[in-house]
């Protein structure tokens, strides 16, 4: 058990180390001891933030704030600046808490949505593994009835995670599958039912309507469901992530984010923008393709990793 945790920790560290290597590395060379803050310095800082997908607006805001602090004498040198930056970003991500909502009674329904290829299905597998590890009973609903072999993909994951799968066939009504899954979870007294959905681009209105319908149909069975609607964001995504989150939130009442693929060099900075503009908390991050590669979101670790001071 401890070994497993240890391994997990190493993996995260490895993943984040790659992240750190870039942004942290750039910043470290930037912040030589006692380095004064001048135009060139600000320029490099700006580039660093932009390269993390934090976005122009947010970057401008941070720089303006920084300049103000500099004028007020709060920040004078590069080292102070790092602390300042960390605090600014940390404030954005304040008090997340990655616990999933629980239903007052009956199964907790978790709906997983997002654009194509973001990592929804894999995230469901990871969540199933995680929850069963905590001693919960989990059932999965194969709500992606559109993409080729999506059901087969999820079936393999369900088997690996050792949880039951409710499925139909490709082309079947996704809402009906979701309903059946919820009903089955109720009948079996499961703690959680995780529902996969087909990837869809948020600008396709008919597909968004279809998703709304799926939610309504679930509510026929459990009016308070879904108790958690997780939007999966690809960690490599740029500014479009904000638009995705906006539309999905509006249509589906998204309650939290999962940011995937942070085991690469992408920093997932867009999630900070999403958090800031839409107030959606990041609940988990994905750091690999395996079932164990899901981490509760830890803002301190996230920021520490970005700035590369987590030795």
């Amino acid at each position: 058990m401890f070994k497993a945790i240890g391994r997990l920790f190493t993996r995260v560290k490895e993943g984040l180390a790659k992240t750190r290597a870039r942004i942290g590395g750039a910043l470290r060379t930037l912040i030589g001891a006692g380095r004064a803050i001048d135009r060139q310095f600000l320029q490099q800082l700006e580039d660093t933030l932009l390269a993390a997908d934090i976005g122009v607006a947010k970057t401008d805001e941070i720089l303006a704030e920084l300049k103000r602090s500099y004028r007020d004498g709060e920040v004078a040198k590069g080292e102070d600046l790092l602390a300042f930056l960390k605090k600014t970003l940390r404030d954005e991500l304040a008090a997340e808490g990655s616990d999933l909502q629980r239903a007052a009674s009956g199964p907790t329904v978790v709906l997983v949505v997002g654009v194509n290829g973001a990592g929804k299905t894999t995230t469901i597998a990871k969540l199933a593994k995680r929850l069963t590890g905590e001693g919960r009973t989990v059932l999965i609903g194969a709500g992606d009835t559109y993409r080729a072999a999506a059901i087969e993909q999820l079936a393999i994951w369900a088997e690996r995670a050792g949880v039951e799968l409710v499925k139909s066939h490709q082309g079947a009504d996704a809402a009906a599958v979701a309903y059946d899954a919820v009903a089955a979870a109720e009948a079996r007294g499961c703690d959680y039912v995780l529902i996969d959905t087909a990837g869809r681009l948020h600008n396709k209105e008919h597909l968004m309507r279809e998703l709304e319908k799926l939610r309504r149909v679930i509510q026929k069975r459990i009016p308070s469901a879904p108790h958690e609607t997780l939007l999966v964001l690809d960690g490599t995504a740029g500014q479009n992530a904000v638009q995705q989150a906006k539309v999905f939130k509006e249509a589906m009442g998204v309650t939290g984010l999962v940011v995937t693929k942070l085991d690469g060099t992408a920093k997932g900075g867009a999630a900070i923008t999403v958090r800031r503009e839409l107030g959606l908390p990041v609940k988990f991050i994905g750091v690999g393709e395996g079932m164990d590669d899901l981490q509760p979101f830890d803002p301190d670790a996230f920021i520490a990793a970005i700035f590369g001071d987590q030795e």
């Binding site: 790659k18 870039r22 580039d47 932009l50 390269a51 993390a52 997908d53 976005g55 122009v56 654009v115 194509n116 290829g117 973001a118 990592g119 559109y146 993409r147 080729a148 072999a149 999506a150 087969e152 993909q153 079936a155 393999i156 994951w157 490709q170 681009l201 948020h202 600008n203 396709k204 209105e205 008919h206 690809d234 490599t236 995504a237 740029g238 500014q239 479009n240 992530a241 638009q243 995705q244 693929k261 085991d263 690469g264 060099t265 992408a266 920093k267 900075g269 867009a270 393709e289």
Partner: protein, 488 residues
């Protein structure tokens, strides 16, 4: 965003007289907006920096031209430079002289490799080729099954052999293609992160064993700044020949396209514009230059319209309109065309300068569907003679279509007006005929794309009925008279 750029340049240059030279000072603010637009579109920071420097160098010292707003002059330079940066359209596939041509598809997880493999196979089959798909993603659960399903959809065989590693599998696929007289082999590989050494070595090995004639990087259009990092890494390990950018049917501005060319020097071969197998297009740099600058994508609009409109049917209906024979059956065909084009709002969103304004307007699209259902419940005779549909028929039609007699009446009442509205549909066709052949947009048009676009509202607006008010007043008078008479 684009409005911002134009505005910025506009307000600065308003103060300048013609004949003045463009200088660093007077274009700085405008270029700042360009920079912002590019960054918001996810063009890489460094690429943006180089680009702005280039534009500045080009612009500074230029005489402000007579009759052209100086802002527009700079916007034109920006636009042209962006196109230059993205490079020529090049969707060619150089085929091998002997034996099968091998295409290797590589990229990050979930970028769209498998889908693209099948789409390319479909395209090749259309061109008379005999492609073989090789399922070499041994990583993602059911990846092989996915390719098999898609392969069956497009009519391309899929090769897979369990029990061997990916490079060996690909080599065997190649051998099989030769045996089966297949002239193109498309290798679908597992998604991999550029920092995953083991998997990068694997794909390099696939490459060295199969010696692909074309190696393409498949990139998600929504990718942010990391696009250049991964593309560079892939390009270092694999000699790339081109890039396929997917999911451009979304609303991401797709700045990664620009970075790709700048960083790898390789052309964008195709773009993916849908989950379905027909969602693959050659790449047109000018189109995406406008999109990245936030100027909308007018050509996509036209193309969509073209795709949905059946020429023969359109001609037929046009004639019927001219002969005043347009009936409910034609109306239904028209409604189907519109529905086929997708969401009106989405479509309007593609038109520069209009999309944003339109997002607030609510177009009730459900009504088109409702009308279709209602017409679907009519007899052939009723469709051709809507005037014969009296109350009892209305009741029956309402029953059959799950609507109310009010709905049926509303449809019929709107029919005359809609006839004319649908007639306007011809405008889109006209547009489609004209636009793609248009030479480069003039700076004027560039700066104000809305100005040369037909008013899309007109397409869907009910024609103003001048006589209606008169009739209404007469009616009211009559009623008042009648009331008076009754009182007495």
């Amino acid at each position: 965003m684009f409005e911002h750029i134009a505005e910025r340049f506009g307000s600065i240059f308003d103060r300048l007289r013609h004949g003045t030279k463009l200088s660093e000072d007077n274009i700085r603010d405008g270029l700042q907006e360009v920079r912002k637009a590019l960054l918001e579109a996810d063009v890489n920071v460094q690429v943006v920096r180089d680009f702005i420097a280039k534009v500045e160098a080009k612009a500074v010292g230029q005489q402000i031209l007579q009759g052209v707003a100086p802002g527009q002059q700079v916007v034109q330079i920006v636009h042209d430079e962006l196109i230059t940066l993205m490079g020529e359209a090049d969707a060619t596939i150089p085929y091998a002289k002997h034996g099968p041509t091998v295409i290797l598809m590589a990229g990050l997880q979930g970028s769209g490799k498998t889908t693209t493999c099948a789409k390319v196979a479909r395209l090749l089959i259309e061109q008379g080729k005999r492609p073989l798909l090789v399922a070499a993603d041994l990583q993602r659960p059911a990846a092989i099954e996915q390719l098999k399903v898609l392969g069956a959809q497009v009519g391309a065989p899929v090769f897979h052999e369990p029990g061997c590693k990916a490079p060996e599998l690909c080599a065997r696929g190649l051998a099989r293609a030769e045996l089966d007289n297949r002239d193109v082999v498309i290798l679908d590989t597992a998604g991999r992160l550029h920092v995953d050494d083991a998997l990068m070595t694997e794909v390099a090995e696939i490459h060295s064993r199969t010696k692909p004639h074309q190696t393409w990087l498949v990139l998600d259009a929504m990718t942010g700044q990391d696009a250049v990092v991964s593309a560079k890494a892939f390009n270092d390990r694999l000699p790339l020949d081109g890039v396929v950018v997917t999911k451009l049917d979304g609303d991401a501005r797709g700045g990664a396209i620009v970075s790709m060319r700048a960083v790898t020097g390789k052309p964008i071969k195709f773009v993916g514009v849908g989950e379905k197998m027909d969602g693959l297009q050659p790449f047109f740099p000018d189109r995406y230059a406008r999109r990245i600058l936030g100027m909308g994508d007018i050509l996509s609009f036209v193309e969509k319209a073209q795709g949905a409109v059946d020429e023969k049917q359109a001609k037929h209906i046009e004639e019927r309109i001219l002969k005043n024979k347009f009936d409910l059956a034609d109306f239904q065909a028209q409604l189907q065309t519109i529905t086929k084009m997708g969401s009106l709002k989405d479509l309007l969103g593609l038109i520069p300068g209009i999309g944003a304004k339109f997002s607030a307007v609510n177009i009730d699209e459900t009504i088109f569907k409702k009308y279709q259902v209602i017409i679907g419940s009519m007899t052939k005779h009723e469709r051709s003679r809507p005037d014969l549909i009296e109350m009892s028929r209305r009741r029956r039609i309402a029953m059959g279509s799950g609507t109310t007699t009010n709905d049926v009446s509303a449809l019929l009442k709107h029919f005359d007006a809609m006839k004319k509205v649908m007639g306007k549909f011809g405008d889109i066709q006209e547009m489609a005929k004209k636009l793609p052949d248009q030479p480069e947009l003039t700076p004027e048009q560039l700066a104000n794309p809305g100005a040369f676009m037909p008013d899309p509202n007109a397409l869907f607006r009910k024609p103003v009925d001048k006589d209606a008010l008169k009739r209404y007043r007469q009616e009211r008078k009559k009623k008042a008279k009648l009331k008076k008479a009754n009182k007495r």
